[in-house]
Symmetry: D3
Subunit: 158 residues, 6 copies
């Protein structure tokens, strides 16, 4: 029985912010990612690129809705070294999602299930919970992860 649910939908008001950076200490990257997610970014990712004079740079990418742009810009200009950024328009198609709870020898673990036109097409154990269980019980993470998947599969077949 899912305890959380969202319908499949398409969101047309999304933007991708991009900034090419070749003069920043790469240590900053994960800090910047976390701040952007805290400020409501839908996604943050970095693409390795080769810039002028063959410099190994990174391109910061932030997915946000229109309302979030200002907040994202604040973080990007404050915390990175970029002198500008680009916006690209994008639409996002998001699958229907349900959260399920699966019982395991290491306690209950959530599984996120994805639905396309009403049909189950994805399911993935919540990674953080698997990590926590693996650490607490001293079992390999992959064993926890695989067992959660196995149990979810069995239930879905029933």
């Amino acid at each position: 029985m899912p305890f959380d649910h969202r319908e499949e939908h398409i969101d047309d008001r999304m933007l991708i912010l991009q900034a090419n950076i070749d003069d920043m200490n790469p240590e900053y990257c994960s800090y910047v990612t976390d701040l952007l997610l805290e400020q409501g970014a839908n996604d943050v990712y970095w693409i390795p690129i080769i810039m002028k004079k063959g410099r190994p740079g990174v391109m910061l990418n932030v997915l946000t809705d229109d309302e979030g742009v200002k907040r994202m810009e604040e973080v990007i200009f404050r915390e990175t070294t970029t002198l500008g950024l680009r916006y690209l328009r994008a639409s996002c198609h998001r699958l229907g999602r349900e959260l399920h709870r699966v019982d395991t020898p290491w306690g209950p673990i959530q599984v996120k299930a994805g639905f396309h036109q009403g049909e189950l097409v994805q399911f993935a154990p919540e990674f953080k919970e698997c990590e926590q269980a693996a650490k607490t019980y001293g079992v390999p993470l992959k064993q926890v992860y695989d067992e959660v998947r196995r149990r979810f599969m069995e239930r879905s077949r029933a």
Copy 2:
């Protein structure tokens, strides 16, 4: 004498579908690529990215026209682990193209020629045919490839 021909043109109805994936067995990538091309994708490529918590992920990119979106989505949601994807609008400028046949010591091999405003700007031997000839005749692939290019150049100069 070219035996196939297409005019240079710009196509404004193209879309790039993108999905960031950090929880999929990378072995699936080439299988997914092949399925998408079979379903009519104009191009498929993967970009290595760094995702949340520093995870080495990949971004699937599929170039398609409006009519192909549904079919591409079917494949992406069925065969990858993503819970969503993005669309970006794009226009494609495609060079005029001709296929030529070049005779070589290892049989005829096709060359794809590209034209910009009526002028020859590109030409490339069909890679698969060069591979096949190299295997069949036991010669280095680069020798076949270079020889095809050399012969096409000579003919173009005549």
Copy 3:
């Protein structure tokens, strides 16, 4: 005292030209970058990608305004091996910029400062001038770079 100044602004008429290339001698890349910048490209960068049949290709990206598209295309089709390219619409948000001059033991060196809503958020020594000073005076580049930053910071605090 800045001797050069530009206001923060957003430019909505920008385009990103993209071409996926898997059959070009990678030596050409920096030559192509330089030609595009000479022709007025706002930025040029290359993204490593994985193409059909798992080929390690590169995606050329050129940021340009509408007026520059024709010139960029000339260079791309003449100098690379691509048979086509894509356009994506983008807006560019550029910080206010000032050039400052900082005196150092190795002569004056410029610093580019970036302003967001009137506030100083970025500053970076001109890299080429730091390189030149490091070579001329036989000091480590990072020492020059750090010293220019330190002096700019002190001045800004005063």
Copy 4:
């Protein structure tokens, strides 16, 4: 019941051959990989690197035993554009391996199991067989793969 078996062992006579390449058509890569594997390479992989003048090159890596070096060199010098290569000494620790057969709704599929000090630590469905089954039966590849894993896990628990 495994039908194939190899003991865990360490092999001290291995070499890694490396060649940095920045002037080769990247289309050649997979062809070269296949030839090297046919000639008995233990493994072949390519590392994206940045070479002189910021060129995006690739480093070919070939794992081989002493006996194979000559054959590998033949292929590398014939088929790539490199003017030299490096050897690094390496030892290989290989897990004990067993091949198992798992029955699925899409026919039997092999699973390769890995043993460290007598304990099962890895298992992976044979990818090619999963691909074949997915194509033949029109089911998602990930469903085949997951089901094979699920069945192997159940059997191992029994």
Copy 5:
């Protein structure tokens, strides 16, 4: 005044363990890194590679001394999907190191200084402490980082 000190030295008993992985959920990477560091690895890093059939894989690299090899192997075989790994011999040249304490408006922050043949060649603020100060005081991380560097430089010049 440094409160911690280590002499410059070369350590000849080091090993690099390498495992090429193309069938593992990339989410596992950071978890594996953390476990290896907890078990005493001198360094852990991942290299993006292209494997057989053009699969985008990763190569796990673990730097360890002879004594640590067994513990590293336990983690690698338990927690990743690899069926084997390689050892390469390596020597490590480590600079002399001192930890210094620098007072800032946001409290004291440590700086790690590196010495080559008795001369100061490196210094870097402790990143975690800068992050903590930036979060606590709501200032940009780069401002904290730069200020610590500026103060350390001033002191070194005195």
Copy 6:
């Protein structure tokens, strides 16, 4: 007629120096590369890697003989931010090399030819000379490069 010649040989006294760097301004990379080559490095290349906490770093690689190690270390410690480096032993197999001169419509251009066991296996136009000719005569670089190759091939066939 070649005007320069070197025999095929294997050099067993080579070392690869490696340093993982995650806190350096990437702008420095090409400057460091140039200094190392000036100091006699046999080769310098950078590998994109993922370091602790998912930071996108780079691994500097310098190929040198025993005599060059001290000079390389001076540059690396002075000019990068690393606190240490690794040495790996390597042998280098270098093809026999000849420099040839090819006449073209844009003047003479050198071709470097590589020989394995007395047989011609490689040839490559000198890139810098092709660039220079392309700029001087306003022709596409690829046309110059291809034409030099074509002429060298014709001559070799004669």
